[in-house]
């Protein structure tokens, strides 16, 4: 058991059969993953509690984050390339724990928003929709 720092966490993107690190990532979020359930409450369900059961499917969610955007950087262009030329892509988060635990996932599509503000650095936020499920550490 350990308290793991976020500093040193790396996002990697597959490019030409290898994983390369994405530069200047400021934050990452893995959200929206959940096992799907269905409401099986019936008129003769006893008590006030509603009943649910698993459907056998799960939502993989998405991986999103923010980076300090460098429009001339090939690594950042490799992300926006997925908007101009949509394709599935393999990604990986490498956590900064002692064992550098990895969480791999396949991105089915990306979103990319650029923010230009008078009093801030050039930033972009991105969201990668997971195809199937991320490979959670086990």
């Amino acid at each position: 058991m350990a308290k793991v720092k976020c500093k040193g966490t790396v996002l990697q993107q597959e490019l030409s059969m290898v994983f390369t690190a994405v530069a200047q990532v400021a934050s990452l979020e893995v959200t929206g993953a959940e096992s799907e359930t269905t409401d099986v409450t019936t008129l003769d369900t006893s008590g006030a509690g509603k009943e649910y059961m698993p459907t056998g499917y799960s939502e993989g969610g998405s991986v999103s984050g923010e980076l300090l955007f460098d429009p001339a950087l090939a690594g950042h262009q490799a992300i926006t390339d997925l908007i101009t030329t949509p394709a599935e892509q393999n990604w990986k988060i490498i956590f900064a724990d002692t064992g550098t635990t990895e969480m791999a996932f396949t991105g089915a599509g990306v979103g990319f928003d650029i923010t230009v503000a008078q009093n801030d650095a050039l930033r972009a936020s991105f969201a990668i929709k997971c195809d199937q499920l991320p490979t959670y550490p086990t």
């Binding site: 793991v4 500093k7 990697q12 490019l15 290898v18 950087l73 090939a74 900064a96």
Partner: protein, 114 residues
């Protein structure tokens, strides 16, 4: 087109030798990769062109490549930008996973005894 790695990189599922679920599948410096987008590796500063087709496809200057090559080492290890100089000078090699403090490198200043 072909490119030669100048940084060690991990194999991705698209590589023919990739084994699913196996950790630490590193390709060493000098590995030549043949792929239609190999020029992208050169533009990220992790490889050099290994054939004329790659040379023609690359869209950055030598100066830009040098900057990308120098930057890749620290950011691929999760080094914060404010610590790039300390990383390049060998004063640190990374962060302690539990404390977040810099891990001293070979050129780290020696601590004085009290």
């Amino acid at each position: 087109m072909k490119a030669r790695l100048v940084h060690p990189l991990m194999m991705a599922p698209g590589h023919p030798d990739f084994v699913p679920g196996k950790k630490g599948q590193w390709l060493p410096v000098g590995t030549i990769l043949e792929h239609p987008q190999a020029a992208g590796l050169v533009e990220q500063g992790v490889a050099r062109c290994a054939d004329a087709e790659c040379e023609q496809a690359v869209r950055i200057t030598e100066e830009q490549w040098q900057a990308a090559f120098k930057a890749y080492g620290p950011f691929s290890r999760g080094i914060a930008m404010e610590d790039y100089d300390a990383y390049h000078s060998g004063e640190m090699v990374g962060y302690d996973p539990e404390t977040g403090d810099p891990i001293p490198g070979p050129n780290a200043p020696e601590l004085e005894d009290d």
